[in-house]
Assembly symmetry: C5
């Protein structure tokens, strides 16, 4: 369960002084991958870093420098990198603590942005969150991903290499926009899969209510609740960037950020619509079960109301009293059949009138 | 499903650099229709444009120029048009991406307004959304509709041609108001049809609860949810125009925009009332099914409670024990009938007292 | 249904240019009634106007002029009146369009206030809305009511004639207050009647849940929903008057407006309490039906559980096997009665222990 | 019902000009009690006033003057008092109209504060509201209570007489705080009693769901709804005093008012918790009734499923066909018993497996 | 119950003048523990205080002084301590009154912060609240805990003693941050335990709905409601510290407080997710019970519908009429068996078609 996991990871750090570098993830991943891209309008150079110190040379150059770090479980390396770029100790701590809520903090020289990537695991039918942090500085940008595998930024790197779009002509705030855009686009891929599951569930519920469907509905509700809580604060994050409280965000980037903002709002809207639909589907299910119970009760009542009096009558003439005049009548048997038939027809007419049939 | 569709269209654009012109609709429509109207207080001229460049001549003239484009699936044409009027590349991109949320963006030289037209397809009983975008500039206005067929602006064009009202005497911000007004009026046509369906559903539910009604109710709820999400942001859009953050909106137009604003608020109010009514109707249905189940149970219980003891008694005197003195009594049979009748009457009295009958 | 009606009336005006004078009510009423009252501290003169132009003479005088118009279905007359007092064309349009939401607009020379009168039709058990508009100008006030019959302002006219209170000593903003006060008082008369119906419904539900009650509850909910939507925006209307955004409202009138504001808030509060009570009453009804079903099920189960085994036993000894030793016993019949009695007592004890009886 | 009562009292005043002094309570109380306390740091004098004019002498003195009036049903007396202290006519009107919402109005020379005392009638199990008004002026304070009996301010009077605490050393704003504090403390006494009833109800519901409990729950919900509506606006009232919009409130009194504010917020919090608990208890009740119905159904179904087939079998061998070979078998009777026993055991095993037993 | 307890404690103080020192806890604890830590960058000294006056010497020194008081039930001692540090009498009163809502008050020379520690008692499965108050002054900090046992601040004391982190180099506002951090971390420990219980409950509900589970769910809901109400105001408390309304909070401490703020928001988020999950689980339970009732009804109806007609038939041929031709047929018995079998098969086919089996 997502929430429990967040809470549990947070508990790991209890008792340590502020600024303690502790990785709160579940287990150590294989290694850390540092990829540097140095670019300006005319060139673009990509290389893999072995040591954090290697980036110092690039930092001094007027060209843009983007360092992407895959894996945040190595305190030593992150500390060195943090020192290179003059990061506050709390920022370095937060990079490693993968239970942050999306937020945007202005440290003067740089902006610290935390957000969540939400992939969708189709086998286990659940959302897999991954924390992504961005440090947006003057001519440099650091990005951190939890996991070594599954780099989502390769598209941006590709655009940089091939000089596609205007990305190479702009400052690192535009690069930050490009990365944010990729992450938010990702939400829609996940939303699409959730939407497909909801559609299938809806169809199934219309066909035949079933207990298993309700458990699926419950799980979907939980995933959407989690999605909502992870994306909702992002509105405020991007909106604070747009308000240009920091000089690191240039006026020309604002329209692009506004675009991302629109997408986030749309993602939140979609989640809210999904959630309301699930709530209505639960009501639909409940009323459908009540209706079926009602239908079943009708059948039972009709059967019982018809056959109980008849069985009673048959019972009466099965009694062994010595003096039962009807038994001796020649047409007694025929008569009793007629009486029973008449009774049956009266009952059926009554049920027809009551619209039970 | 609307939401899935929005999400799916959004997914189409993933991985492209910002400003990529991609049509996100379902399939190419037949062609694009560009209609120019040039007017001032004294004249009005309408013509169909073949090439976007033709509008340049009109743009320079002091008279008002309105270009309406039906169909947004041709990137080349939109790009040319965008360049003619100096539009930001993101705006041209948004024109083609028909999954925008209603919004109003101020680009200094022009305002970019996106909103939704919500037609109602009576055969399929669902809302068909169409994106409409307006570019409000100095003496020019561009309007974009998704679909070639079903132009809703013919009324405004008619007023322009015939010089009805004060539309020809005013600037393009008044024209923008006139177009907004047409679109918002459209909401009420759709609301009227939804309202009629709700009325019919209400009547049907009062008559005879039925499972099919609940599915109709569920579909109506979803349509209203969609309507609400599409119209709600329009409040903010028009309200930002009224606040006159842009010099393109003149003081004399404000009362008219305020009028449209009132209509939007009223549309939102109506949707909210409809939604609350549907929720209450679902409760009504549920309580009505419970009540019916209760009624059916009463009948079953009354029948069972009366005939089970009687059948038992008849069964007792159908036993074949050798020594059963009652069987030999002369009036045994009469007596047992009296006992059974008495028992039945006692039961019925009990049920009367309990108000089950 | 109120909402449908509002939507339908709005639809009537689609396609007309702004400022078109169209009456959106259901049918033409009998005639229009114009009543002028001219007053100052020392005198008060009332007369019925035949032509709108007659008011021009009064307008120029320094004394206060109040013109009340009953009936808004005559575009010619309203247009003339509007021109006399220099009203914006949109205002004249809104006067006739009786589907306005309560609002307050400042046109500089005058304030335009729209609100709703909510009478209660006791025969049809529903709220009958009527639109009332006020134009508050320098030394003049125009008031418009939909209906010719049932003038609610006679009390104010009476106070003016008899010089009761301070009304004649004050400007027209105080007169506006007096009219608002009458209208808001009216809400409480309607609320009282709704409250009485809720009380009766509550009592009935406590006595005996019944399906008809639920339909009454549903109708009450809808009326309250409508009431709420009509009164809620009035808070903002009066609050904007109190903030004295217009110089037409004098400081000495503010405490009086504050008083009306308190009443509106109290009316809204009452409606909200009523609505919550109805929601709780629905829950009460549902739980009461469940409880009754439960009770009925207990009776059925007790009867079935006692008599089914007994009937089975009787059936066993009604079998016609040749060799059934028990049948030959001398006390067989007595014995079987004892067994059956014992079984019945055991069952009853079991139900007692389970607290089913 | 509280709300109906409020609405009904409001209706009493309809049609009267502003400033009409009308007592809106249910019936005249016995008499009016005016108690004056004049005090400063060194002395304290208490006397009962016969005439409002008697207070004029005290008003001029620099010492503090507190006049408490029990009973607000005498317009003449209140008018005289209002004139002595220069009260606005609307204030005097509001003093008598005991349906005010809690509010705080600044009339420059004095503050007018209205709030509700909420006693709890343990015999009738409902909240009895009483309106308390305070006029806080320069060196004087007037307090008004609805009822002559049951003065809650005796504690404050006692502190004044005995010079306990710092109350005699401070201005009348501190006295106002002391009175507010007494009233808010009163809320907790009422809350305690409501809390006790909720606790008892909770216990009873856990033991044995019962229909009567639901009616108690419903009544509690209504009382809490009323309490909430009466206390909620008090937050704003006291908060506006704290913001020191009036010079009558001195800086040294602010911490004390902040203290009262905290208590009010806490009272509101408690009411909200109580209300949520009642909502959850209703859900608990409903699910508990469903569960019981389910349990009862299981018993019924088990009994019916076991005995219906058996009774059928017994019925078969009670038939009177001439050629029924089984009846002639020597061990036929034994065999049928074995078959029936086997059938019963199979059924029971099936129910065990389904976890119905 | 928490709320009742809060209300009851508040009631204890009714009738006392402001500033009365009354301990509102349940009973006197064993004794009071005063622990002083005096520290600066170079040294750290800890000692147990016997008398409050002992702290005066430390107060004058430029080094930082932290006094932690365990136990707040001794008015004399708290009064002396309050006088040493010049505390407002209301603050001293609030220290003893352990029913405060979390709040932050600025008294100029010092800040007064109240918050709640929420431990989790695993045996009784409930949250045990404890009030913690902080007085943040120039170079001194006082902290107060309700209980002598279970000091949570030993970690901070340990860091101070060993000079770990930057705590000794900073002012007392950083110390306050460290203490807040410990307390908020504590929330996550409690949340973790609540989360575990929710997980177990969820699993149990999926396996087998049971009435006892619903009571557990109800208790969990109440605990979370309490948790929410206790933590929610803390957001505002810390946020007001961050806004630096007081000069006692230094700029360098802000990032740390922002960190605590993030944690509080995350705790609130987690509680809200937990609460929504419980609500959905209740719905799940209810729909699951309905579904089961439906299943049981099906079995009952199938059995009754099959065997009632058959038993009736058997009853018919058990009648003792003299003239019943079928009884005499040679293959009558065989025939009736075939008829009954056929009837049974028809019924089963019908149920199969209706998907009841």
């Amino acid at each position: 369960m997502h929430t429990s996991r967040t809470v549990k990871r947070r508990v790991k750090k209890i008792g340590l002084p502020a600024g303690s570098l502790v990785y709160t993830g579940e287990k150590k991943r294989d290694g850390i991958n540092m990829m540097l891209v140095d670019y300006d309008a005319s060139h673009s150079e990509a290389r893999i870093l072995k040591q954090p110190e290697e980036c110092l040379a690039y930092k001094l150059k007027p060209s843009m420098t983007w360092i992407n770090v895959d894996g945040v479980h190595d305190p030593v390396l992150l500390e060195q990198l943090g020192e290179c770029f003059g990061l506050h100790r709390l920022v370095t701590e937060d990079l490693m603590s993968i239970v942050q809520r999306p937020k945007c903090e202005d440290y003067g020289d740089y902006l610290f942005v935390v957000l969540k990537m939400l992939a969708y695991d189709e086998r286990e039918n659940k959302i897999v969150p991954e924390q992504v942090s961005l440090i947006i500085g003057q001519h440099f940008l650091l990005s951190f991903q939890e996991d070594v595998k599954g780099d989502v930024f390769h598209l941006v790197r590709d655009h940089l290499r091939r000089g596609k779009g205007k990305i190479r002509k702009m400052d690192t705030d535009y690069l930050a926009y490009a990365l944010l855009d990729v992450l938010v686009d990702n939400y829609f891929t996940t939303l699409e899969k959730l939407g497909d599951r909801i559609d299938r569930l809806e169809e199934a519920l219309m066909m035949q209510p079933d207990k298993a469907l309700i458990e699926r509905l419950y799980q979907l509700k939980r995933e959407l609740l989690f999605f909502h809580k992870a994306v909702w604060p992002l509105r405020e994050v991007i909106s604070s960037l747009i308000r240009r409280e920091s000089s690191l965000i240039q006026a020309s980037t604002i329209p692009y950020l506004r675009d991302v903002y629109d997408h986030v709002v749309q993602a939140v809207d979609s989640v809210e619509i999904y959630r309301e639909m699930l709530t209505t589907m639960l009501d639909l299910y409940l009323s459908s079960v009540s209706y079926r119970t009602n239908e079943i009760m009708k059948v039972l009542t009709i059967i019982a109301t018809i056959f109980m009096p008849l069985t009673f009558l048959a019972g009466v003439y099965g009694m062994n009293f010595r003096y039962m005049p009807e038994l001796e009548w020649e047409y007694g048997y025929l008569l009793i059949w007629l009486v029973m038939l008449g009774l049956g027809i009266i009952m059926l007419t009554y049920f027809k009138k009551k619209k039970w049939m």
